[in-house]
Structures are given as structure tokens and as C-alpha cells.
Symmetry: C2
Subunit: 227 residues, 2 copies
């Protein structure tokens, strides 16, 4: 099962067994938290089932979603590796979720003994860093509609389900707003506009992308926004 985790591609079967032995499963129900921002980073997690979002909360209570995690992906690892030894964000379950937790000390020991694994982790980190840099630029320079399009396209690639009509996503307007850095009102208006134009179907906590290509053009800015 853990072989499907891209972070463990270079782990030996024996090391995987060690991880299984040292780690322990942790189930969190919808809206529950695996850990909170600034808590001491005691464990790194591998998500086995469900969906988790990494968020930061401002003093004023506003939520910003940094990314969403799907099955077989690592989370909390930055905190586990970083010298500050605290989590930089909170991890909240979007659905009932199950993860495998590995103590940070075990995780670090594993990395020390296996440079290939450490290299993999570095690649994952730099990939994520690239993405954050891109999203930062997008946040600064692009308008809301384009940003929302980017979010939808990205989520479709990561967590979309193919159905006959197109690609289905299950996110509330609020979820999308927190990811795109806007309000649920704006998201609602934009999605309504797309539906009128025939690009998507919308529903409660659900949307179906009918024309992925058109959405991708919107995201890239090559298609003008609605009139």
C-alpha cells in the first residue's frame, strides 16, 4: 500500500516495513484537524484515504487554503524536517480521512540513512515551492475570474472524477473561495456566469466541467472574461 506513495519510491522494502512498524494510523473525521499551525511538529503523515486541506488562519479569523492533499501524498513533512520544528500550517480533513503517522524523529532518521529518499523529498519541496511562487505571482497580477479558473483547472487535474458529461469536482463555493483568495459571493457569481455560458454545470457542493479547454483558456488569460 505504501509503495504507491511517491515520497517512498526510493525506500527499500525493509525501510517501508520499518515505517509501517514505527508509524500508527490516525483517523480524523470531516472538519477535524490532524494538527494545528505552530504546534510542535511531532509527526509527518501519509494520507491513505480522504482529503485534507492545509490552511493558515489569520488573527482576524480569515482562512487561506494553501493546498489540498489527496491519497498517498505526504503532509506535515515540512514541519517534521524544518529546524523550527513547528507546523507552518494546520491540516483539516475535508472528508473523513485516514493517515499513517510517523514520528518526526523516525522520519528524520530514515532520511539520514537514505540520501535517495532525502533527494526525493527535496524534489517534492522544490516542486511545491515552484507552485507557491507561481500562485503568488498569480495572486498579485491576475483578476479574480482568472484566479478562480486556475483553481478549478488545478483541482480538476488533482482531484477531479471523470463522468460522462465531463469532469466532476466536489467543493463548496466557500472552499473554492478560500483557495482562490476571494469570497464565496464572488465565486458564486463567477460560476453562475460560466454556467450561463455553458462551460460548466453547478450544483450544491459540486461542479462539472463541460469544456475543460475553454476553462484552461480562461485560466491562461487568453479568453476574455464574461462581459
Amino acid at each position: 500500500m505504501l509503495q504507491r506513495v511517491e515520497a517512498l519510491r526510493h525506500a527499500s522494502p525493509e525501510e517501508v516495513r520499518t515505517l509501517v512498524r514505527l508509524g500508527l494510523p490516525r483517523a480524523v473525521e470531516e472538519d477535524g484537524f490532524f494538527f494545528f499551525q505552530d504546534d510542535p511538529a511531532e509527526r509527518a503523515y501519509i494520507l491513505l484515504a480522504g482529503r485534507v486541506k492545509m490552511i493558515q488562519v489569520t488573527p482576524a479569523g480569515q482562512q487561506v487554503t494553501l493546498r489540498t492533499i489527496g491519497p498517498y501524498r505526504l503532509f506535515g513533512a515540512i514541519g517534521a524536517v524544518n529546524p523550527t520544528a513547528t507546523y507552518p500550517a494546520s491540516a483539516q480533513a475535508l472528508q473523513d480521512s485516514l493517515a499513517w503517522g510517523i514520528a518526526s524523529s523516525d522520519f528524520r532518521r530514515l532520511l539520514q540513512n537514505n540520501p535517495a529518499l532525502l533527494l526525493d523529498l527535496t524534489h517534492m519541496t522544490t516542486d511545491y515551492l515552484r507552485e507557491m511562487q507561481e500562485r503568488y505571482r498569480e495572486m498579485v497580477t491576475e483578476q479574480v475570474e482568472q484566479r478562480i479558473a486556475r483553481v478549478v483547472v488545478r483541482l480538476a487535474g488533482q482531484l477531479g472524477r471523470r463522468i460522462p458529461e465531463g469532469i466532476e469536482l466536489t467543493f463548496s463555493r466557500q472552499d473554492l473561495a478560500e483557495i482562490a483568495g476571494t469570497t464565496l459571493y464572488t465565486v458564486s457569481r463567477v460560476l453562475s456566469g460560466w454556467e450561463k455560458r455553458g462551460l460548466i454545470l453547478t450544483g450544491r457542493e459540486r461542479l462539472v466541467i463541460l469544456h475543460p479547454h475553454a476553462l484552461a483558456q480562461l485560466a491562461a488569460g487568453s479568453l476574455p472574461p464574461a462581459p
Copy 2:
């Protein structure tokens, strides 16, 4: 000289010598580029003198500054390590600058042979990632004045010079605007406001922080913005 580079703390003297032998110096004058976004990442650099900004340019020509690099700091390394093998941003000299360039292949070989170095790089990357996540959240949730205050405080810590009156920074309004993700007009207005309030002195491509504490409060949001 290269011992002062935090990325090489765990390099053996012999490895440092190897780097000196394998690398080559590269001087770039003000406004020149060390490399461009999306170019193949042929070298990683250590800045020896001057100042360099990492930027992304949008299709429309807008510039976003991701970070500024001071002496003895590494840049271009993410591109050199990442599997995509391209630079995620362009590196432009803010002043006449000198850097030591190391071929990516040599850099990767060094990391493979010395896991401690790789670990250091991982720490640097995760630190930077933390910072990007924070700045992303700030960009989404905070108002301009607060963001500009954050930029000024951060730059003061990294590149400020102590002078009798306070801390001196040499950045144009345009520079600050690109870092804070706003326009030079807004930066100008905000700085004028601070000067009227006696928090700073301003000049051409220059500002002096008289009351670091008050600015820090502005950055933290605990001091209300100007009326």
C-alpha cells in the same frame, strides 16, 4: 571566503576547494541578468558582492519580485536541483554584482556525496517555503499599507544599514512596489503618510526608518493605518 556561505557550512575544506576549482566568477552590472525564467538551469550561484532580485514577469509585462538576495547567499539552486531543470524565476542585478557560478551537474554531484549538505539545502528550501506561504497569506488577507510595512521591515532586517538616525534602506518606490505587489503610486502615498507621522525619512531611492517598533506594529496590524 566561501566559508561564510551558510549553504556550505557542512562542506569539508576539500569540497570547498573543489567548488572553487570547478566554479567560475561571473560579474553582472546593474540591471543585467544572471539568468532568465524558464532557461535551462545550467548553474547555481553564490552571490559574493552586490544585490540580486529574483523576479517573475507576467505575459503582460508586469514584474513581481519574489525575493532579494544579499552577499553569501545561494540563488538559482532550486532550478539546479529540480527535475524540471529550468529556472523558476529570473535573476536581475539591483547593483553591480559578482557571483560564483557552479555547474548544476557539479552541484548535484556534491550534494550526492555529502548528505549533510543536502540536508542543509533542504532546510534552506523549507525555510523559504515557509516564508512564501506566509507572504501568500499576507497577500490574500492584508491591506496594502500593512503589506508595505512588512516589506520594509523584512528588508531592513536583511539589507538595512545602521546609521545614527535609524536604519537606512536603498530601494526605489518602484522596487518596493514590485516586492509588495502594488504600484509605485500607492507606495509613494503610503511612505509620504509615514513621513508626515514621523516614522521615517524619505529620499530618492532611499528611506530611513526612525521608529522600527512602530513600523513593526503596522506590519503586524496592531497599529491602525493612517486616517
